[in-house]
Amino acid sequence: MTIINHPDWDLSERGKKDAERHRKKIDEAIRKNVRDVISEESIITRKKGKTVRVPVKGLKDYRFIHGKNEKSQGKDQGEGGGEGAGQGQGQPGDVIGRKSKKAGDGKGEGKAGNQPGEDFLETEVDIDYLIEIMFEDLGLPWIEDKIKASMLVPNGWKFETISKRGILPRIHQKRTMLEAIKRNELYAKEIEDETGCDHDDALKALTQAKGDINKAIKIVNTGVIDLALDPYVIIEDDDMRYKQIEQDYELHSNAVVIAMMDTSGSMTTDKKYLCRSLLFWLNEFLKKVYDFVDIRFITHTTEAKLVDEDTFFYKGESGGTYCWTAIDKALHLIDTEYPVEEWNIYCIYVSDGDDFNGDKTIKYIEELLKRRISMFAYTEVDPGRDISGGKDQKGVFGLLWSSSNTLIRKIKSKWSFVCKSEEGTEFCKNSDKHFLISVITDKTHVYPTLKHILFKEDK
């Protein structure tokens, strides 16, 4: 038998190296598909955990293959495509397998059917990692210095304290030397006291005895001091001083984000999903990037409630709509807990704009803006709203809001905004009042909206 060890198969772990290439490809694909990934429903409704499964497009071996004949279905079998052959015990009519249907994605967006789900490769990704690659260069804008700075923000590392223990690379030379000199002088004094010799001789004897005080005394007493010796400082273990590394903090101004959401009856599943999607990513991002930002959650129907994170994201309600109640609650929160002099306040409100009392809401928003908070962002969700429309009398960018009589329209006629069209929707900003408005009509708008809210200021 020929058993040979072939040298052409080297020991380097090629598989692992190439697996690394594959991972890089996945990263690239995620970056490219951020919009799709971010609107993936399973991420938001996932069970608690740090990793999420993300569909990645474009990592298959594409080649010409036979597909399904859609139109010839029903001709011979009825269930075209779902057929296969198998082997084993089983009578006609036996159920050999069962698969639960995927959670239907509501309406089935316009493009559906084009790219079936099975053509995506699913991969497991850490949620922090996702946030890292999706929200590069994003942050809270308009942060101001407030009187009372109390938010500790980690800012690198520093050496401040000095200890007797440590590792050699972090030795504090000056302090160590100082300690050694101090001790040498003390020893010299002792030798002087014991023997009555002068200071110079005492030091010389100490150097000659290599720092051993008893020996030095003996040397002085026997009179064999090497007078030609140039005394130097001898360092003992006890003299060693080390720098201690610790986290450096900087004091920053306080910031609080007040997330408000409409949970009234008019908010359909689709709308709620878009709402939560937006606020979910905002929340995750803030938690990761700004460790010390306070986040408060308010939901409202005809009255507003202060709730915790879980209730906010996972529970639903229904009822009428008074948008002003949420703003009122926020105002109350600002008055009682977050004084504007001390806090940067970011109010983010998402609703479908179907308000029972729009005029009152406008008044409350006016009141809110008067407090000179850092930002008020209003996002209206309206899946499927027709965004192609005419121009209004004011100019080019009236088109979005003219189609329905919602809150955003009232806001638009009350304040003036600088608008830009992007990704099939519009983003408007009023820099004086720190007021942002936008509309989400499709799940692909979630990501641009986040970028709109978390923009970096030009300095």
């Binding site: 190439d18 080649r63 399904k68 079998q77 779902g82 052959a85 082997q87």
Partner: protein
Amino acid sequence: MTKTDLQRLIKIEDRMKQIFHEDLGLTCYPIEFDIVPPQKMLEIMAYNIPTNISNWKKGRDYEIQRTRYDYAAGGLPYEVVINADPARAYLMNSNKFAVQCLVMAHVYGHAAFFTHNKFFKKSRRDIISTMKAAAERFNSYEKRFGMDEVEKTVDAGHALQFHSSPFTLSETEDEKRLRIFEQEKKKAHSRGGAYEDISGDNKVKIDEDLELFNQKLWRKLRLMTPVEPTDDILRYIIDNSTVLENWQRDILEILRMEGQYYWPIIKTKFMNEGFAVVVHEKIMNQLFEEDLLSSEDHADFNYSNALVKAENPFGLNPYLMGSAMWYDIENRWNKGLHGSDWSECADAKDKECWDTGDMKGWSKCKKVLKTHSDWFFMQEFLTPELIGDMKIYVFAAKDAGQTIDYVITKDTAKEIRDKLLNAFAQNTIPHIEVVNGNYEEKGWLALNHGWDGINLDEMYAKETMHHIAHLWGRPVVLGTKLDEESKDISWKISPTGEDKEEVSVEEELNAQSAAGWWRKAWKINSPLEQTYRRPW
């Protein structure tokens, strides 16, 4: 593996070889066995050829293999054999002794198949060293031209590598042009020749006409690229693309060659695996009979063999189905259960205990081994009775409210057979030809799908066309059909990138499909047809 085990293995292999040659009457190229640790084994399985090039897909496959290995915690008798001369096989050192024997005997089966099956006649037996050299070259390309660029080319090559068989004629474009010219000329002239005996005047006219026809034909042929539709897409692109660098051509040549190496393996999967199972079972049984292996080994062997031949409720196991078919052939030709005598016999009782004592089963198997591929194998030997014996069924997905149920259909064995054969035809590579390299006089590449009742997967086709567009540097058009009644449609994909004049567009051409164009282009207005359609 301990030293004593190794000594024992070498001794058993000697006997194995004897059984293989003498009892089974088979021959093969010499085999070299390489004993490797599991990690290497998994790499070899992912790379197919141990010296294969580095690529992200190999990394992905490696991860899949490793995960599978981790979850199955050994258990599976991993086996890899490379069709080369000498054939190279790998034994995983963590396998049990009996499993090593099983794998070795199995490898002998494959080696016999590689050596004798006619579809492997043109296989390159130096694949290991060729790929090793190629991998080194590709590595240097990556350093010089960047990994992304190289991977783009490699991905495109992978997408197209199965569109050429080792049996494709290796003609250059010019040779082909000349051949077609001669063929067409001959056809036209023989048509003309029938009228030779008519009056002299006419003969001159015919000669003139024919001369004119020749000229026209040649002019037409000179402008045609390709001269004749070709399914060897990579060959055509390598020879005719204006944007490919030499290193890219090298990559594509290698991948095309690799595809040709895999081609017969894909075409004979069921036969090949089935035959290897038959050989290993025959050899192992003989070894057990001769008490060369212990009873403990017997238990290990049975366990692993059962894993290899496990029934799959959601698919067909080539090891099980292939081997069952080989055993069936052996049995039928041993007892003479074939031919008109048997099929025309009406007496059920006679049929029940039919045995002519031919004992030609194994020699029949050896004949079939040489000549068949999976498709022919199934066509000829997958009998409805055998389908019943093998308990093969067809299942269909049924909507059951909350869930989708997979239910076994009421198909009869005959219907199942038809469906399987149909599926085997579908699993082949779609027939796609390059029909025009200068489509619309704009240098676009026109492809045509020879629609034969089965659609192309649109998403996959378009992604593949992106690959082709990258290699071609200009838009690519593909003509196909969506169903029997519908008209031909065409998809167009343009290359992307800053240096290309056009941006990427995906559009459906409303104009005539590429295929239609080609058919039109071939219709040369032959002078003969006008001349001789005279009413006499």
